[in-house]
């Protein structure tokens, strides 16, 4: 009971209780269930559904209880030792096992009380919400639903953490070991939740993680939440406890018991003297014996005293601290765990299309920054607070503080020791990272983890020093530190870390092997580092000034915090750097000024100009000058001038010509037919009003001239699809920066509150124009004259028709030709070009190997697609490999922007290397996007992404064989099933593709749906229909909807009813086959002959083939008829599989097979 009293008095326990209470009030358990739609009506999951409560308890346990439970357990073991009462207690009749059991019982009682209170509070909160009509959706109240999760999910986790903490504290008597255990258990738990693509974890490894997950969260995610079954199902379903769950609980109980027994035995050995810390050295005599022989020495000549300076004393103290630190198991636990995390990251992280990443040192260094900084911060917090506390704990401060050591050294010594130990940890991690990388220079690791992160660790260490100087208490210092880390993590997760607050550099470092390191954000990065270096200096100076080496008199006034020399200067520098960062962030293209302008754009123009009649672009002539960046500016400016020839194809005269330009455009000037005109600037929507309205079918030339400051200010995120850097440039007209976009651009200035469901498809009579999903209604001719600094190669939309030098700068001219384009893009870089048959790849020399593969792929894709979907109208299709400032590939007419993160550092994807699949997909968009642009109507994305994926399936089968196609099809199926939201799913023909699950439907179900049509119609009929679709709609202004495409294909069906069945099921419905196999009969009816009958449910009347497999690899296929497949087999069947060749999209493919024994 005494231990329980101690625990109840612990601020940590109360902090845990407060956090649990906060979580109860702030987090809706139903929000943790990935189903339903409660935002705007719809079916919502109950907050008190058994599964919601189980998930809430499991996640709360992991997030809130791991650290406190481990620390409280460890402190229970350490407290008596540190207070020196251990010998007193062990001198009583108390037996060691009673001592250990009592201690643990006290800890568990206290934690159990918090958990009980937590569960009770949740129940009360739900009841109150039900009565008060709060926003929580509450279902039927069930006591069991509230009682079981704390017992089965929270309880075992709390027990394991507390027991592990206690056992480590008891064994090592080292606080750092306990802290290290907490630091390990938390990320291990989080890692258990992260869904891994198939193949990353073998089934048994996954099963092992389920067994050892104390909170049961992994079991829940694998068993319950892997597939969405709709809110109604989740609301009614009981927790489906299975054998794996009970075994995992048993493993927890057994693990706890073993650990407790081991702790008891160890405690017994230590207390009763059967184990000594270290035997006395041989030959050492007892002091009394020695006294008899030691000669009394005369007092020798006085030794000289030269008090050490701050640096020397710091080094002395650091050396001593380091010697203490390396002897502590906690430091080694941290080191081992960091190496494990690096290995896990390198081995388990998946790139595009779930492909394994071929890491370079730079990629690993930057992608591991969050891991390294989080672990480093925890290590610094724990080791430094432990080192600072050691003097008080051992009472050595009474001696040390009276020496002539400068006060600064008393803090700088431990600080230095912790940093040296941290450097050792990072060096170990870096070696593991280097061993995990596939090649390339090693310098990025020390550069990023050493040089770049040094200010982070210095600032963090200084913050810990300051917390210690004020509290002079280890627990409070750790509490403050953990609170700061939690705040940082919360800000990061909510995307609120700014350049001036992002001390650990989370999410702002992107590595490129195609250009200079980190050139996207050098200036803010430098200022950020200056800010936190200055802050580190200032905080350290303040901490030294406040360090209570000499106990101050409370009745006397203390000097101000900033009185220490240097602190003001450092703080001033920090304020200056911070101010520059705040200003830079505010003025960037995603800063507050731009956001305000965009909001104004929406407010001023959405009613006036959304859907307003527009003139059609007939021709574009533009001059684009990519300026060399000046020394003081990271991003260059671009000067743009040119003119559109516009034709009024609307039924009435146009009195105004609206154009949208992004906030990066400055000094904008307009002309109409060569004469200057003052445009009305409506927050970025420029309205040109000709003197006379533009008559129907008349033309006018609208000229524009402006400077583009795309790199002005510091973007909050470094991900950018458009950029102008010294080493590379990427611009396009899907955005609103490069060229003026006619009319109002939907989406700009929309906030979450203003976002709305899209309108249903426009009711346009057949034969009338349907607007394209984006861009000009018709293709238009373009001529781009692009000037760039010498050494920078440029590619752009169209064919290169001229190349020359002007004033020492390279000029290239690009023309689209008569076939015209709807979009324009350009890219520039320092490349090595590779040419194939009608294709070219532009890449950095370091990416030569993958580039060769991409070139071959592109050549083949162009040839195949030309055969299948119609001839490619341009002489060359180009692919420019760009730095990975946005991991994205985008296809524009004649030019594909392909960031290096899209598989160039990846291994095999599903069916082919990831880069190959992405290149094939993007090449398909030349047809499905540019030659055919769908109408702005629901289902448009199916014609874009679904058909691009379908094209990829075709290409894989044709070029790489059926297995490749099947592997990719399986990947699409897994993506669709895992992202599907049953309650929100809309048929493909009604998709708006505004959300992740709708995009997934369009891409993945869309591709499979066309594959079903392929099977129903026959390949040639479908391809002929698709060619006709392109030819009919290519020139605009009519653009097809998905229904238009289905109607066109239906004409070619030999069985219209069967076509309608397939089209209705896959395109107009949301159902998904979920096959259940049952062996009705199986046995030998004659020597060598086997009879097998299998019934299949859930096929929804779709055609399906089953296959029986024998031991020697025999296979026999059988079509499903009336739900039954019958075989007369010449071999003994071992396994029956439904849809063995992946011809049918289904929900649970793993269940569509039975083993016969």
């Amino acid at each position: 009971m005494r231990e329980a009293q101690f625990q109840f008095a612990s601020p940590l326990l109360w902090a845990l209780a407060a956090a649990a209470a906060f979580a109860t009030m702030a987090v809706n358990p139903a929000a943790m269930v990935p189903t339903g739609q409660a935002a705007v009506g719809g079916v919502a999951p109950f907050a008190n559904a058994p599964l919601a409560l189980a998930q809430a308890m499991a996640l709360s346990g992991l997030i809130f209880y791991t650290f406190p439970a481990t620390l409280l357990g460890g402190q229970a073991a350490l407290r008596d030792d540190e207070a020196g009462v251990g010998p007193l207690l062990h001198a009583t009749p108390l037996r060691t096992r009673e001592y250990v059991a009592g201690k643990l019982a006290g800890v568990l009682l206290a934690l159990g009380a918090v958990a009980f209170g937590h569960a009770l509070l949740i129940a009360c909160w739900h009841l109150a919400s039900a009565w008060l009509g709060a926003r929580l959706v509450i279902g039927p109240i069930s006591l069991v639903a509230y009682a079981l999760p704390p017992l089965l999910f929270l309880g075992p986790g709390i027990a394991l953490c507390a027991v592990v903490g206690f056992a480590l504290g008891e064994r090592t008597r080292s606080p750092l070991a306990v802290y290290a255990a907490a630091s390990v258990l938390f990320p291990l738990g989080v890692a258990g939740l992260v869904p891994r693509p198939p193949g990353v974890l073998d089934g048994w490894v996954d099963g092992f993680f389920v067994l050892v997950d104390p909170w049961g969260a992994r079991w829940l995610s694998r068993t319950v939440f892997a597939v969405d079954r709709g809110a109604a199902w989740f609301n009614d379903a009981a927790i489906p406890f299975d054998l794996a769950f009970w075994v995992s609980r048993a493993v927890m109980a057994a693990g706890c018991a073993v650990i407790v027994v081991a702790a008891m035995r160890h405690c017994e050995r230590v207390v009763r003297g059967r184990e000594t810390s270290r035997p006395a050295p041989a030959g050492a005599m007892a002091p009394t014996e020695a006294a008899a022989v030691v000669r009394r020495q005369p007092l020798g000549p006085p030794a000289t005293i030269r008090p050490p300076g701050a640096l020397e004393a710091s080094l002395v103290l650091a050396r001593a601290e380091l010697a203490q630190l390396v002897r502590q198991p906690g430091a080694w636990i941290f080191a081992a765990f960091l190496c494990l995390l690096v290995l896990e990251h390198a081995g388990a992280t998946r790139g595009v299309l779930d492909s394994p990443v071929r890491w370079t040192a730079g990629l690993l260094a930057t992608s591991l920054v969050p891991t390294v900084t989080a672990m480093g911060a925890l290590f610094l917090l724990f080791s430094l607070s432990d080192a600072l506390d050691r003097g008080s704990r051992t009472r050595a401060v009474a001696v040390v503080h009276a020496t002539a050591v400068p006060t600064s050294a008393l803090l700088l010594g431990p600080l230095l020791a912790s940093h040296v130990a941290l450097a050792g940890l990072l060096a170990g991690g870096a070696l593991v990272a280097l061993a995990s990388s596939t090649g390339g220079a090693a310098w990025p690791l020390p550069f990023v983890w050493g040089l770049l992160l040094a200010p982070s660790s210095a600032a963090w260490g200084a913050a810990v020093l300051l917390a210690w100087a004020f509290t002079h208490d280890r627990a409070k210092t750790i509490g403050i530190g953990l609170g700061l880390l939690a705040l940082t993590a919360a800000a990061h997760l909510q995307d609120r870390l700014e350049w001036w607050s992002n001390w650990p550099l989370w999410g702002v470092l992107r590595w490129s092997e195609s250009g200079p390191a980190l050139d996207m954000a050098r200036e803010p990065l430098l200022l950020n580092r200056v800010l936190f270096t200055a802050l580190a200096v200032a905080l350290t100076i303040i901490a030294i000034g406040r360090f209570p080496r000499r106990e101050a008199d409370r009745l006397r006034a203390r000097p101000g915090m900033l009185r220490a020399p240097g602190s003001r200067m450092a703080l001033s520098l920090a304020f200056l750097a911070g101010g520059l960062l705040v200003h830079g962030v505010a003025r960037s293209t995603d800063g507050s000024a731009a956001r305000t302008r965009d909001a104004d754009y929406w407010r001023l123009n959405v009613a006036a100009w959304s859907g307003a009649p527009l003139a059609t672009i007939e021709r574009l002539d533009a001059r684009i000058d990519l300026h060399a960046p000046s020394a003081g500016r990271v991003h260059g400016t671009v000067r743009v001038s040119g003119r559109y020839r516009l034709r009024n194809e609307s039924p009435a005269a146009l009195g105004a010509l609206p154009f949208t330009l992004g906030p990066a455009a400055r000094s904008v000037r307009w002309t109409l037919d060569g004469a200057s005109i003052a445009a009305e600037d409506r927050a970025g929507l420029f309205v040109l009003r000709p003197a006379m309205p533009l008559p129907v079918d008349a033309t006018v030339e609208a000229g524009f001239d402006y400077d583009l400051y795309l790199g002005d200010g510091y973007r909050r995120g470094v991900e950018a699809v458009e950029f102008v850097l010294p080493s590379s440039v990427q611009l396009d007209t899907l955005g609103r920066h490069l060229l003026p976009v006619p009319g109002f651009v939907a989406g700009v200035g929309e906030s979450a509150e203003r976002r709305h469901e899209p309108a249903p498809g426009p009711s346009v009579p057949p034969g009338q124009a349907r607007a394209p999903i984006q861009g000009n209604p018709r293709p238009f001719r373009t001529r781009l004259e692009i000037t760039a600094p010498s050494g920078l190669s440029v590619v752009a939309t169209g064919e290169k028709t001229a190349e020359f030098e002007r004033d020492g700068r390279g000029v290239t001219v690009w023309e689209s030709g008569p076939q015209g384009v709807r979009f324009v893009s350009l890219a520039a870089g320092r490349w090595t070009p590779r040419y194939g048959d009608g294709v070219a790849v532009y890449h950095h020399p370091s990416l030569a190997h993958t580039a060769a593969e991409v070139l071959e792929t592109l050549t083949s894709a162009r040839r195949r697609y030309s055969e299948w979907f119609g001839a490619y109208p341009w002489s060359r299709l180009r692919l420019a490999v760009m730095p990975d400032h946005a991991t994205r590939a985008r296809s524009f007419p004649t030019l594909i922007h392909f960031s290096e993160g899209m598989g160039l550092f990846s291994g095999d994807g599903p069916g082919a290397p990831a880069a190959t699949i992405v290149a094939v997909h993007e090449a398909a968009h030349q047809w499905w996007g540019h030659l055919l642009t769908p109408a702005a109507a629901p289902g448009a994305d199916v014609l874009l992404e679904g058909l691009a994926h379908y094209s990829t399936l075709l290409w894989l089968e044709a070029e790489r064989g059926p297995e490749s196609r099947q592997a990719f099809a399986r990947h699409l199926e897994e993506q669709y099933v895992s992202r599907r939201r049953v309650d929100l799913e809309r048929p493909l023909v009604a998709l708006a593709a505004g959300t992740d699950h709708e995009r997934s439907s369009a891409e993945n179900r869309g591709a499979w749906a066309f594959w079903m049509l392929d099977r129903q119609l026959g390949r040639e009929r479908l391809l002929a229909g698709l060619r006709e679709l392109i030819e009919r709609y290519r020139g605009g202004p009519h653009h097809p909807t998905l229904e238009d495409a289905l109607a066109l294909l239906r004409v070619r069906a030999h069985d219209a009813a069967a076509f309608d069945h397939v089209a209705d099921f896959w395109f107009r419905g949301t159902e998904l086959p979920e096959l259940e196999l049952e062996v009705v009969r199986s046995g030998a009816f004659a020597p060598g002959r086997h009879d097998l009958v299998v019934a299949v449910a859930g096929a929804a009347g779709l055609e399906l083939t089953l296959a029986a497999f024998g031991a020697a690899g025999e296979r026999s296929d059988m079509p499903l008829q009336a739900g039954v497949a019958r075989w007369n087999l010449p071999f003994a069947p071992l396994r029956v599989v439904a849809d063995p060749d992946l011809q049918l999209l289904q929900l649970h493919r793993s269940r569509a097979a039975v083993e016969l024994h």
Binding site: A290, A303, Q324, R327, A402
Partner: protein, 298 residues
């Protein structure tokens, strides 16, 4: 010379630990005597620069060091009453570490100096053992070793002989006496015997007030009347306490040996006159002070 001027220390509460202490500590051994809670350790901490006084001044060799403890530390050897060492380090490593911090001698000689110091305090044979394995007396001797390291000009030792066996205690007395020949040594203790044995000058502190400053001889001579010693039965002890001023009371062969202060008149029966000791003087002083302060505080 260490000059203490009107030193006041008030802890939150408020609790006054020192009431304007004024004291001159000359070169040589100076004893600070007082019962538990008299303010000795507070005074020691202030003199060692580890505690800021509420008011008053501390002057060392003419330099005011009250708010500049960094001027004291290089010249100070300090053995606090309550202290410890890093348990995982060996005695030699710990001492070497402290020598590094104090800057004692040449760096290359510090290991040798550490071993010499350990020999001086009779810990040479245990130099390689971890401090965690030291007995209380051994730790105390290690504390003494670090305090005398570097031949400090000012040595402040707070209850230094606590935990030492008689032999070590004697050794330490010799050592202190030797050290005091050339420096100021401030010995804080509640053991009158130590002061009587070692200190040519001493002061008595009680409830934060200085009751006496002088030599042991002066203290003994200042006692008016005579001192008497005798053996009494247990039953007679309490009546005797009520009627006479008992300065010492010891058990001797099962009987009670009592020393009394007899200001005037005849000695009690079976008591013989004995010369006054410093302990008698100290006890009478504290009894007188208690008689003065108790009614006031009540």
């Amino acid at each position: 010379m260490l000059e203490i001027r009107d030193l006041v220390k008030v802890y939150p509460g408020p609790v006054a630990a020192l009431h304007g202490v004024r004291l001159d500590v000359p070169r040589g051994l100076f004893g600070l005597l007082g019962p538990n809670g008299s303010g000795k350790s507070t005074l020691m901490k202030i003199l060692a620069g580890l505690l800021a006084p509420t008011s008053g001044r501390v002057v060392l060799d003419g330099v005011d060091v009250t708010d500049r403890p960094q001027l004291v530390w290089p010249r100070l050897g300090y053995l606090p009453q309550d202290f410890g060492f890093y348990p995982r380090l060996t005695g030699e490593a710990m001492l070497r570490h402290l020598l590094d911090l104090k800057g004692v001698g040449e760096r290359s000689r510090r290991s040798r100096i550490a071993l010499e110091l350990l020999d001086r305090v009779n810990l040479g044979a245990a130099a390689g053992r971890r401090v965690a394995e030291y007995s209380g007396g051994m730790r105390q001797r290690l504390g003494i070793a670090q305090a005398i390291a570097g031949d400090p000009e000012l040595l402040i030792v707070d209850e230094p002989t606590a935990g030492l066996d008689p032999e070590e205690r004697l050794r330490f007395h010799h050592l202190l006496a030797e050290l005091a020949e050339t420096r100021t040594v401030l010995l804080s203790t509640h053991l009158v015997e130590d002061v009587a044995m070692l200190c040519p000058r001493f002061a008595v502190l009680r409830f934060g007030r200085l009751l006496l400053e002088g030599t042991p001889q002066q203290a003994r001579r200042a006692i008016p009347g005579r001192l008497a010693e005798g053996l009494v039965a247990r039953d007679a002890l309490e009546p005797l306490r009520r009627t006479a001023r008992v300065t010492q009371h010891l058990l001797f062969e099962g009987r009670h040996r009592v020393r009394l202060h007899v200001p005037e008149g005849p000695l009690p029966p079976e008591f013989v006159e004995v010369p006054a000791t410093l302990e008698d003087a100290y006890m009478l002083l504290t009894l007188d002070d208690a008689a003065r302060t108790l009614p006031a505080s009540a």
